[in-house]
């Protein structure tokens, strides 16, 4: 039965990474650099949920939507006032990467000053997070719900991305934003929408993490790094590649925990990253 338990944990880690990588993919494909400010939106989502749900005692569902709105707004504003400004000035990736690392550092330290460096637990009572028995394995309610909700979200986003007009517009902008602009697609507006959606998805990741085990200011970068690794692993231009990459990483991480112990978990993404970069830099699914 231990195998089944491991599969459940892999499933949870895999969907959480998938959620983050979908949002990150939108941003990566549109601005073409590894914008780690995305990790800031993860933190903003988690901490805003703490603020609304536990400090201001707003009920659960409205608190989630408020936090998602703010984390979306965070990433949208960071793009509008920092990154789009730099991109318009034709700054190279060197400048963009430095600015985004600086912005993430600033965000996590500000949140650390407000909420403290200790783990912040969003749940009001620990007894709210009860465990469920799933065919002999255990997951807590947050993990189980997260699997269902994120799985639905993956389907919705895949549908939007591949089947609707809006999705086609997104793909056009991602493919070549200047040509897209020539044929009358409002590039700036699409970028803003993508950043808002991406920020909200990252924020949802932060909320789930905060409800499940709690959130610390360092988790912005800690979650950002595997997500970057996944997008390289899956091929940065591919939607499904990202999701496959998320599950590969989840499997590798959980098996490492089983065989070598939990403290090595964080190094797994980087070992994979270096192997992928050396062996197949274009990722699993080439586009």
């Amino acid at each position: 039965m231990i195998t089944w338990q491991i599969i459940l944990y892999i499933l949870y880690a895999g969907v959480l990474y998938s959620l983050l990588v979908i949002g990150f993919g939108f941003i990566l494909r549109s601005v073409k650099f590894f914008n780690v400010a995305y990790g800031g939106a993860f933190l903003v989502g988690g901490y805003m949920m703490f603020l609304f749900y536990r400090v201001l005692v707003i009920s659960f569902i409205p608190a989630i939507f408020l936090s998602l709105f703010i984390s979306g707004l965070y990433l949208f504003l960071s793009h509008k006032f920092i990154f789009s400004f730099l991109i318009n000035r034709k700054a190279n990736n060197f400048v963009l990467l430095i600015a985004s690392f600086g912005f993430l550092t600033a965000t996590s330290s500000v949140l650390g000053m407000i909420f403290g460096s200790q783990a912040t637990i969003i749940a009001r009572r620990l007894s709210d997070i009860h465990s469920l028995n799933i065919f002999g394995g255990t997951l807590n309610i947050v993990e189980a719900l997260a699997i269902i909700i994120i799985f639905t979200l993956i389907c919705i986003f895949a549908f939007i991305y591949f089947k609707t007009h809006f999705g086609r517009v997104i793909r056009a902008v991602e493919d070549d934003s200047e040509v897209a602009e020539l044929v009358g697609i409002p590039k700036g507006k699409i970028f803003s929408q993508l950043f808002f959606i991406g920020g909200a998805l990252a924020g949802l990741g932060g909320i789930i993490q905060g409800l499940n085990v709690g959130i610390v200011p360092a988790s912005g970068l800690l979650f950002m790094l595997p997500v970057i690794v996944i997008s390289v692993l899956g091929g940065i231009r591919s939607f499904w590649g990202g999701i496959i990459g998320a599950f590969i990483l989840a499997i590798a991480q959980k098996l490492t925990v089983v065989f070598f112990g939990g403290s090595w978990e964080q190094a797994v993404p980087f070992v994979i990253l270096i192997i992928v970069l050396l062996v197949r830099p274009e990722g699993i699914l080439k586009k």
Binding site: L97, F101, L104, L273
Partner: protein, 288 residues
Amino acid sequence: MEYIFHITILISIYGILALAQNLVMGSAGLLTIAGAAFYGIGAYTAAILATAFGFNIFTTLIIAPIVAGLIALGIGISFARFRDDYFLLATLGFLMIFNTVVRNWENVTGGSFGIAGIPKPHIFSLTFDTPFSFLVLALIVLFIVIGICYFISRSSFGRVLNAIREDEDALKIFGYKTSTYKLMVFVIGAMLSSLGGVLLASYITFIDANLFTVNESILLWAMIILGGIAKNRGALLGALLLITIPEALRFFGFPNEIAGLMRQCIYGLLLVFLMLYRPKGILGQYKL
């Protein structure tokens, strides 16, 4: 007076680190975040050799650069094919792996407990255990590093590095083997950083994995970019400013934890604002 010595020692150590980072990132334009890893390798080499094997810190000042240089050589060869973003990611991966290894290899690095009781350097009957004598030692090392950096930036090697930063492909056409030059500067940078690590370990006598994180590399970035990237003087100025200015927070009486976070916040915002309004820094010539 002790306090001024303390600050000056820190400035010297960070001056060394900033110069080394500037050599790699400024002169050659290799975007690396592994600065803290080589700094840490230096510190851990010194700490392990001095506490477990009774080495003199002076000896480790020679051994640590060799260890760091060899590791950098291996890393550099395997990362040679990456450019820009991917080089950054690969060095980030290296830093995280280094950090995890240090945190977990308890027999050697003390795991999360770190290594305590690192001795001060001594030569014959002279021990550098007062702040003043340690400052003299730190300044001597700093001046050696300054000498090396100026020598490199004025040599033909330095000019090739600058050319790599400006246009690597053009240089390749002229028949320069750019990957060899990049590898060399990466190794030299790592060796110089490790000197800073040895001094730090011996000075604060206690090290653990939390000293060598991404935040530390971000601080080095902020230093060289604030001072003016690709300028040796800029790196020194950046180290001076970013060590002294946040010290002012201490006088406002913020608790330690908040002051640390505020410093981080200043470094981060500084990077963002510099990128937005003055990417070449205070003394800079090279426009990013």
